[in-house]
């Protein structure tokens, strides 16, 4: 599993490859916070290559969302497959995040 970060326009796009779970969520958190530190404000996390997410992965998304918002920025999510969508629905986190069907729509939404 790994996280790859690239900039598209003024949006930082993060791909989560594999799982986002207790064993690696800190890595994601640190990578995004580093970009925030550098002055980035628009973040899109793309889950098209993601397997599963556990509660601590969800927790990191909640935490990042707060921290980015505190700096006047925005975190959005994209490309959740049906199983991941279910996870967000079960936890009502689909009400907390703006979730786009695709990376393109996510990018266009900023």
């Amino acid at each position: 599993m790994s996280f790859s970060i690239k900039k598209q326009g003024d949006v930082v796009v993060v791909d989560v490859e594999g799982q986002l779970i207790v064993g690696n969520r800190q890595e994601l958190k640190q990578k995004v916070l580093d970009e925030l530190e550098r002055g980035e404000r628009k973040f899109l996390i793309d889950f098209s290559q993601t397997g599963y997410i556990d509660s601590s992965g969800l927790g990191v998304l909640v935490s990042l969302s707060k921290k980015i918002r505190e700096q006047g920025g925005e975190l959005r999510l994209a490309s959740l497959n049906d199983d991941l969508k279910t996870l967000f629905e079960l936890t009502k986190l689909d009400t907390l995040f703006q979730i786009a069907d695709s990376r393109e729509r996510g990018l266009a939404s900023f």
Binding site: M1, Q19, I21, V22, G23, G51, Y52, I53, D54, S55, S56, L58, G59, V60, V62, S63, K66, D82, D83, L84, T86, L87, L90, T91, K92, L93, T95, L96
Partner: protein, 156 residues
């Protein structure tokens, strides 16, 4: 017939192979071992024809939660403490038992509803809830350690 096809296979003459697979793991209290264990249990479910959603969502998420609780809560990540995992899969259901060396906890008391408005922005407290939503049954008992037992009936 292939070596990778598992599960119950009807071979025409009214016969039937019944397969039950039991996996047992001993892992140190380190969250880096979780993914490997989860992959092997999920694969057995896939081979016994559990529904793709169960293989990709219910099983991996619930087991990851139980394992990380066992490692971080039960064993408090003490390196010398171990976690045992027993998974039994057949054509009807999956039963997973995760055993830690802690003194246990009260399931009903610890399970909070993370979908309540005051909880939805919390960073933690979704583990037991997800386990209970993704499994058909979650139980806790003490038997040579703190045992969390989860049952999932197979969907086609």
């Amino acid at each position: 017939m292939t070596g990778t096809s598992n599960g119950s296979t009807d071979q025409g003459r009214g016969g039937h192979v019944h397969v039950r697979v039991a996996l047992e793991f001993h892992i140190p209290s380190d969250v880096r071992y979780i993914e490997q264990v989860v992959a092997l249990v999920a694969r057995q479910c896939r081979e016994l024809h559990f529904h793709p959603r169960q293989v990709a969502l219910n099983v991996p998420v619930a087991l990851t939660e139980a394992l990380s609780n066992a490692i971080l809560r039960g064993n408090e990540a003490r390196a010398a403490a171990h976690v045992q995992v027993r998974a039994q899969v057949d054509e009807d259901r999956l039963i997973m038992e995760v055993v830690d060396e802690g003194s246990g906890f009260d399931l009903a008391e610890c399970l909070v509803d993370p979908t309540r408005p005051e909880n939805v922005t919390r960073e933690d407290g979704r583990g037991l809830y997800l386990m209970s939503r993704l499994m058909d049954r979650v139980e806790r008992y003490t038997n040579h350690g703190n045992v969390v037992r989860m049952t999932l009936e197979r969907d086609d």
